[in-house]
Amino acid sequence: MTYIGAEVIISPLGRTTAENWAAISANQSGISLVKQAGFDNADLYLSKMLDLIDDYKFEKLLLDALAAVSEQIDPAILTSDRTMVIISSTKGELDSNIHDQFGKSIAALVSKFALVNQPIVLSNACISGVLAINAASNFIQAKIYDHAIVIGCDLISDFVVYGFQSLFAISNKPCAPFDAARNGITMGEGCSAVMVSNSKETFRNGALQLLSGTSANDANHISGPSRTGEGLFRSVKRTLENNQVAPEDIDFVCAHGTATVFNDEMEAIAFDRIGLSDKHLSSLKGYFGHTLGAAGVIETAASMQMMRHGVLVKSLGYTESGTSKKMNVISDNVVSQPKTILKTASGFGGGNASLIIRSL
């Protein structure tokens, strides 16, 4: 069995997991209107860490996240040769070194925490975080490592903001996933970490069970979602089957929900095909924005907090159904003790990934 715990969230909503939970359970958003943030100085809604101004933001966030994980586990794990660190990110420290977007930060992590194994970076667009947690679980089940710490981090930069602007993908209001009036993403930044382990005793605040999932490509388009949800359908179906979990066993779906017209429609179709339409479902993009390579880790960590606190937070920004297939999108927080939750992600390059977490 693999276990997951020691979740850490650093975002515009707070520097600690507790601050983030307090904010999202009170339905507060990290999104604000940032003046002159866009190309040609357009004002844009962003979920941005406005107090983060030093030159080594990416490195600092990785160091802070790993330090926060280390406080929640047996400290000997960090320096063990049976431990690996996986970084999930798309653009890393691009602003300070476009030629080598991870090298300096990783060297700092290795040196500060005396890591034995060279960390690896997984860069698979918006599914990076979910893929990295699944990879961590796979490395442990294969007995290559005993523990794996996954750190997801991505920053808002002119580079990514101008890019998404050029695709006309950015919402002119805070994003509204699955809502009838949604019109695009809100970019976000943040850092999140979890530890995956073969031992539940190492987690000071208790562990949850990780049922490792799968990924599947849409084989359809490099920057547009499949009209049939084929890759997401296949990924979730195989994740359920591999773990002998039936769709009816799922108590909550933490969807990807970027709030673009086509992505959310694709997810609705895929969940309908799997038989998950009536399940409580939220997207957390209305709280954190779209944090790209960090999203899968942040949203998994937030889902773990929901399980620990017995509250499913509402899908912020949602008021009226806006997809062709019906879904049970949560419009008010639900007090519930979910036993089994499904986390999904979809992204550029046609990637789709999913995983399951179960309370013990």
Partner: protein
């Protein structure tokens, strides 16, 4: 057991399949090196011209492997062929071009931006072949055969029956590409292990632990 059944190298001036040179760069040509290979090998896939260098490299290597191992894909279901790629510099080659578009060419270019993620090459290969399998792109400081063997074996034990493994070192004129096909039950091939990968890849700079 699993085996390395077919492999392809692209360097700055040579293209090799299973160790045999099939194409040499003509330095005086007006075409880019990857376009020279595309034309000389008579590929027909017009989307090739829209791709960035990383995706062009992935296209060429995967298509050449398919030619050298005719019909291999038909031995597997559409979700049994996984892809496991890595490199040192992510999509930096395209990142520099996209940055140039908004700093010096007036506006951010959407057609460049969509290639500023290293995993896009996996999407391109999946689209051409209608492969719905597992995909992963890792950024590693150097070619690390141990990573491919460890995660490749994991993929083979969790449902994949073949894996396209690739190191796509592309940054400007520095081209260090090695793509190989791993299969569970071929007629012949080299054992899929770190020593053989290291020997076949023939890279100068590697991580061996």
């Amino acid at each position: 057991m699993s085996f390395i059944t077919t492999y392809c190298h692209l360097s700055a001036d040579q293209c090799l399949v299973n160790g045999e040179v099939i194409c040499k760069r003509e330095r005086s040509s007006a075409d880019s090196w990857f376009k020279q290979i595309y034309k000389e090998q008579e590929f027909v896939y017009p989307k090739f011209y829209k791709m960035d260098a990383l995706s062009q490299a992935g296209f060429l290597a995967s298509e050449l492997i398919k030619r050298a191992n005719q019909g291999f894909a038909s031995r597997y279901k559409d979700d049994e062929i996984a892809m496991l790629f890595a490199n040192q510099s992510s999509s930096a080659d395209s990142d520099l071009r996209f940055k140039h578009s908004y700093e010096h060419n007036g506006a951010p270019s959407p057609s460049l931006f969509v290639y500023t993620l290293p995993n896009i090459v996996l999407g391109e290969i999946a689209i051409i072949n209608k492969w719905y399998g597992e995909n992963m792109f890792a950024v590693l400081p150097k070619f690390a055969p141990g990573f491919f063997v460890d995660y490749g074996r994991i993929l083979l034990s969790t449902g994949a029956k073949a894996i396209l493994c690739g190191w796509l070192g592309i940054l400007g004129d520095n081209i260090e590409v090695f793509v190989c096909l791993i299969e569970n039950e071929p007629d012949s091939g080299l054992d899929f292990n770190s020593e053989n990968l290291l020997e076949l890849a023939r890279f100068q700079s590697v991580i061996t632990n």
